[in-house]
C-alpha cells in the first residue's frame, strides 16, 4: 500500500432500479498518482463513472447505496468524511468535468459567473475570482475572454463549452481532475484539441487526471495507465501499449476487435447504373446556406458514405432527399424521376423504396407501440406489400434477420438496449423492402462493440439483399471497412470524393487530411504518429 494521491479500494455501489437492486460496481480498486493520467475504459452499463461519482459525493442515496469500500484521498477516507469536508474538497482539491457540457452548464447564468463560482464557493473575493476566471478563460483558448465572461452557455460552440468546463474545474488548481467522457459528443477535430489542452494543463499543473471513456482511441492518445471495466468489475489493467498489444481478458480483446478502421477496405467492383442522382442540391435557412450546390450519384447496391463534422450539411442531404424538408433548389432523380417535383401523394407511394435509419433509436421508435406494431406499420400504410394474415410471420422473420427473436415482437421499445433498438429500426426499414436505406449517423450513439455488430449486420444485409446505402457519419474510421465510396463534406460543400482507397491512402484535400489525423486510433503507436502529423499540420 503505497502513498497514492487517490486510491479507490474495494468499492461496491448498488442502486434501486425498476429491475430491483443493481450492483453498479462490485469491489473495484484503482489508484492515481500526481501527474499521472489514468483512463477508465468501459462501455455503457460497465459502471465506469460510478467510482468518480462516489469520489465527488454525487451519488444520491437513495436510490444509490455504497455498500463497501474506501476512497482514500491523501490518506483520508472520503466516504467517512463529514459532508462539509467533502464539499470543501470538491472543486478545490478534486474537480470534475462531464460529457455534454451544454447540459452541465447552468443555462441561465453567464459563464463568467459560473466559472468564478468555483472560487466564490470556497471563500474567494469576487474580484479575485473573476480575475482568475478571466485568465483561465484566456488560457483554455476562449476568444475575447473579457466579453465571454458575460455570455451564456448557449452562445458558445460545443468545444468551447468543454473548454469553459475545464476552466471552471481548474479554478482552484485542483490536485485531481476527473474527466467523464469529456470529448464524446464533440467533433473529431475538436476532440483532438480538447485532449491536447488537457494534456498541456496537466503538464503545467502537475495534477492527476482520471479520464473516463468508452473510446480506445482516447486511451491510446492520452492515458499513462488504463483499467478496463465490464459489468461493474475491473477486468484488466495496464498501460495502453500492453492493453493494445497483449490484451489478456476476452472482453478487452473483444473491444479491440470492434475498434473501427482495422479491417479490409472494400474494392469497388463494376458499378451498376445510378439509381439516385442528386444535382445542384441547395438549402438555405434565411441567409445561412446549409447546403450549397451538392451533387452526387448513388448506384444500385453500393454503399456511399457521407462524412463531415457537425454543420457540414451531411444530414441535410438525407432530409432533403427524403423530402422531410423542402430543398431550396436542385434535383433529386430517383430512377430518372425528380423526387422534389412529386406531389405529397406520389411521394408517399415512392417512399417505400427509400428508407431511413435514424441516429437515436430511443427517439425514432414510438414508445407507445409494440415492436410488432412498429415493424408492421409500413404494411398498414402500403397495403399492397403484404396481406395482413402474413404480418406476424414476416415480423418474426425480420426480427430474426436483424438478430432478435420472434418473442420480442410484443414488447415495447423501452424494454430493449440501444443496440437492440437500432436493430428494430433496421427491421422496420427492411419491412418495406426498400432499394435504398439512408443511415443518418445510425451507429454513432452506440457502444463500440455494438457499433461493430450493427455495421456487420448492415454489411450482411447489403450483400444478401443488394440494398444500396447512403451512410452518413462524422467519423472516417467508422466507414472505412464498410463503404465503397466516400464523400467528405465541410460547410455545406463536398470537398473531396473518391473510393475508400483514394480517401484513406491518398487524401488530397487538407480538410480530409485533418479529419484523418484527428481521428483517434486504438493503437498507441499509430496514435502517437497521428498526433505528430496533426501538430505539424496545425503549425503549417
Amino acid at each position: 500500500m503505497g502513498n497514492h494521491l487517490l486510491e479507490v479500494r474495494d468499492l461496491s455501489v448498488r442502486f434501486h432500479t425498476a429491475q430491483g437492486m443493481v450492483n453498479a460496481v462490485n469491489g473495484i480498486s484503482w489508484h492515481l498518482d500526481r501527474g499521472e493520467t489514468l483512463a477508465i475504459l468501459g462501455e455503457s452499463g460497465s459502471g465506469k463513472s460510478v467510482s468518480a461519482s462516489a469520489i465527488m459525493n454525487l451519488i444520491d442515496t437513495p436510490p444509490g447505496e455504497i455498500t463497501a469500500g474506501q476512497i482514500l484521498f491523501d490518506g483520508v477516507d472520503l466516504l467517512q468524511a463529514a459532508p462539509e469536508m467533502r464539499r470543501r474538497t470538491n472543486g478545490k482539491r478534486i474537480s470534475m468535468i462531464f460529457q455534454d457540457p451544454l447540459s452541465h452548464l447552468n443555462p441561465v447564468y453567464p459563464v463568467g459567473w459560473q466559472i468564478a463560482e468555483t472560487a466564490l464557493a470556497h471563500g474567494w473575493t469576487k474580484t479575485a475570482a473573476y480575475d482568475r476566471a478571466l485568465s483561465l478563460m484566456a488560457r483554455v483558448g476562449i476568444p475575447d475572454p473579457q466579453a465571454a465572461l458575460s455570455k451564456y452557455p448557449h452562445e458558445f460552440s460545443g468545444g468551447q463549452r468543454q473548454r469553459l468546463m475545464i476552466a471552471m474545474a481548474l479554478m482552484l488548481k485542483p490536485e485531481i481532475l476527473i474527466a467523464d467522457e469529456p470529448t464524446t459528443a464533440l467533433d473529431v477535430t475538436v476532440q483532438a484539441e480538447v485532449l491536447s489542452l488537457l494534456e498541456e494543463l496537466k503538464a503545467e499543473t502537475g495534477m492527476g487526471l482520471v479520464l473516463i471513456t468508452h473510446d480506445l482511441g482516447v486511451v491510446a492518445d492520452a492515458a499513462d495507465r488504463a483499467v478496463v471495466m465490464e459489468g461493474g468489475r475491473i477486468v484488466e489493467a495496464g498501460t495502453p501499449h500492453d492493453l493494445y498489444h497483449s490484451p489478456k481478458h476476452p472482453y478487452t480483446q473483444k473491444l479491440l476487435a470492434a475498434a473501427p478502421g482495422k479491417g479490409v477496405m472494400r474494392t469497388a467492383g463494376k458499378l451498376a447504373p445510378p439509381i439516385l442522382e442528386v444535382h445542384d442540391l441547395k438549402k438555405s435557412y434565411g441567409a445561412f446556406e446549409a447546403l450549397r450546390q451538392v451533387g452526387f450519384d448513388l448506384h444500385a447496391g453500393e454503399t456511399l458514405a457521407v462524412v463531415g463534422e457537425s454543420g457540414s450539411g451531411k444530414s441535410t442531404i438525407a432530409r432533403l432527399v427524403l423530402r422531410l424538408e423542402e430543398a431550396t433548389s436542385g434535383q433529386v432523380l430517383w430512377k430518372g424521376e425528380d423526387l422534389l417535383a412529386k406531389s405529397p401523394k406520389e411521394m408517399a407511394k415512392l417512399r417505400r423504396q427509400l428508407q431511413m435509419v435514424f441516429q437515436d433509436p430511443t427517439q425514432s421508435l414510438n414508445p407507445h407501440m409494440t415492436v410488432f406494431e412498429i415493424i408492421s406499420e409500413g404494411w398498414a400504410i402500403h397495403r399492397d406489400i403484404l396481406p395482413k394474415s402474413q404480418w406476424r410471420a414476416r415480423v418474426a422473420e425480420l426480427l430474426e434477420q436483424v438478430g432478435l427473436s420472434a418473442a420480442h415482437a410484443m414488447r415495447a421499445p423501452h424494454q430493449f438496449s440501444g443496440g437492440q433498438r437500432q436493430r428494430i429500426a433496421i427491421a422496420r426499414a427492411l419491412a418495406l423492402e426498400p432499394e435504398v436505406i439512408i443511415c443518418d449517423e445510425a451507429v454513432s450513439a452506440l457502444d463500440v462493440s455494438i457499433q461493430k455488430q450493427v455495421i456487420d449486420l448492415l454489411g450482411d444485409l447489403r450483400d444478401r439483399l443488394g440494398i444500396a446505402f447512403l451512410f452518413i457519419a462524422h467519423d472516417l474510421p467508422l466507414v472505412r471497412d464498410f463503404a465503397d465510396r466516400i464523400l467528405v463534406m465541410q460547410k455545406g460543400e463536398i470537398v473531396e470524393q473518391g473510393t475508400v482507397h483514394q480517401i484513406f491512402d491518398a487524401a488530397q484535400h487538407p480538410y480530409t487530411q485533418r479529419l484523418l489525423y484527428a481521428g483517434l486510433d486504438a493503437d498507441p503507436d499509430v496514435q502517437a504518429e497521428r498526433r505528430r502529423k496533426r501538430r505539424m499540420l496545425e503549425r503549417a
Binding site: F15, H16, T17, A18, Q19, G20, V22, A24, S44, G45, S46, G47, K48, S49, V50, S53, I59, G64, Q99, D100, L322, L324, M347, A348, K349, L350, R351, R352, L354, Q355, M356, F358, Q359, D360, Q363, S364, L365, N366, P367, H368, E377, G378, A380, I381, H382, R411, A412, H414, Q415, F416, S417, G418, A425, R428, L432
Partner: protein
C-alpha cells in the same frame, strides 16, 4: 449518457402477462392513495348512475317537520344520517341523487371541451400556419370572453337546462385543451419517430392519430381530470351567482350555494355537499398524478417498484 452509467435496459424484464386492465389494476394497488381515490370515484359514479332511480322520491319529498334536521341521527331513517335540508329532505339522498347531474355536467363539459379543443389543437398544430394562427386567435377570443356573459347569453337565448350549461362550460374550457394540444403537437411532430413515420409514407391523419395523439393523450387526460374538478366548482359558482342550474334540479354546487344561507343556523346543509366536492376533486387530483405515471411506459417502473415515494 445516463447519470450513473448503469444500463437499466440490459435485462429485459418479463412482466407477468395479465392483460392491460390487470396491469393497470396492479399499478393502482401499488399506490394506496390513488387506489382509495379510485374507489371513491367509483362509488360516486355508481351513485350517479343508479342513485336517481332508487332515491329520486326520497330526495324530493318535502317534509317540513324535519326541516334542517340535525345530522348523525338515525331516528328518521338512515337517509337522514347527514341531516335534512330546509324542506326536510334527507341530505344523503339528495347528495346521491345530485351526483348524477353534477357528474353529467362535469363529464359532459370536460369531454366536449377535450374533444373539440383537442381536435382543434391537433389541426392548429399539424396543419398549415395560417389555419393554426386563426384557430389560436379564436382561442384568445374565447379566453377573454367573460364566461358569465357567455352563460347569460346561452342560458337566456336557449334555456337553463343541463345540456346548455354543459355547452357554456365546455366552450369556456376549450382553449385550455386547444393550447396544450397545439403546443405539444408542435413539439412532438419534430420527434424522430414522427419523422420515421413520414419516411414510411404515412398520411397526416395516420401520423396525427397513431403517433402524435398517444403521446399527448396522457397530458390531456391529466388536464381533464383536474378540469373535472374545476368545472364542478365553476358550476357551483354559477349557481351562487344565480345563473347556473336552478332548483328543482340539484347539483352539489347548487346545494352548497343554497345551504350557504343556513351556514350560521344549520351548517350541515352546505357542509356535506361541499365535502363531497372537495373529496371528489382531491380523488381526481390523486388519480391524475397516478395516471401521469402509469400511462408513461418509461415512468411506470416507479409504481412497479411499489411503496417507494416517487417525485
Amino acid at each position: 449518457m445516463n447519470d450513473t452509467d448503469i444500463d437499466v435496459n440490459a435485462p429485459v424484464k418479463t412482466a407477468p402477462r395479465t392483460g392491460r386492465a390487470g396491469t393497470m389494476l396492479r399499478l393502482l394497488w401499488a399506490d394506496k392513495l390513488a387506489f382509495g381515490a379510485a374507489v371513491f370515484v367509483i362509488v360516486i359514479v355508481l351513485c350517479a348512475t343508479i342513485g336517481p332511480a332508487v332515491l329520486a322520491d326520497a330526495a324530493s319529498g318535502t317534509n317540513l317537520r324535519l326541516r334542517n334536521a340535525a345530522p348523525f341521527s338515525m331516528e328518521h331513517g338512515p337517509l337522514y344520517i347527514l341531516g335534512g335540508d330546509a324542506l326536510g329532505r334527507p341530505l344523503l339522498a339528495r347528495i346521491i341523487v345530485a351526483a348524477q347531474n353534477t357528474m353529467m355536467i362535469a363529464a359532459g363539459a370536460v369531454v366536449a371541451s377535450l374533444l373539440i379543443g383537442g381536435f382543434l389543437g391537433l389541426v392548429a398544430g399539424y396543419v398549415g400556419r395560417m389555419t393554426g394562427e386563426v384557430i389560436m386567435r379564436l382561442a384568445d377570443v374565447i379566453m377573454s370572453f367573460p364566461s358569465l356573459l357567455l352563460a347569460v347569453i346561452v342560458l337566456y337565448m336557449l334555456q337553463a337546462s343541463i345540456a346548455n350549461l354543459i355547452l357554456v362550460l365546455a366552450i369556456t374550457r376549450i382553449p385550455v385543451y386547444l393550447r396544450t394540444t397545439r403546443a405539444e403537437v408542435l413539439e412532438v411532430r419534430e420527434r424522430m419517430f414522427v419523422k420515421a413515420a413520414q419516411v414510411m409514407g404515412a398520411s397526416s391523419r395516420r401520423i396525427v392519430f397513431r403517433h402524435i395523439l398517444p403521446v399527448i393523450l396522457p397530458t390531456l387526460l391529466t388536464i381533464a381530470t383536474l378540469d373535472f374538478a374545476f368545472v364542478m366548482l365553476a358550476e357551483s359558482a354559477l349557481s351562487f351567482l344565480g345563473i347556473g342550474i336552478q332548483a328543482p334540479e340539484i347539483t352539489w354546487g347548487l346545494m352548497v350555494s343554497q345551504g350557504r344561507q343556513y351556514l350560521t343556523s344549520a351548517w350541515w346543509l352546505a357542509f356535506w355537499p361541499g365535502l363531497v366536492i372537495v373529496l371528489t376533486t382531491m380523488s381526481l387530483n390523486l388519480l391524475s398524478s397516478w395516471m401521469r405515471i402509469a400511462l408513461n411506459p418509461t415512468q411506470r417502473w416507479r409504481l412497479e417498484i411499489g411503496g417507494k415515494s416517487n417525485g
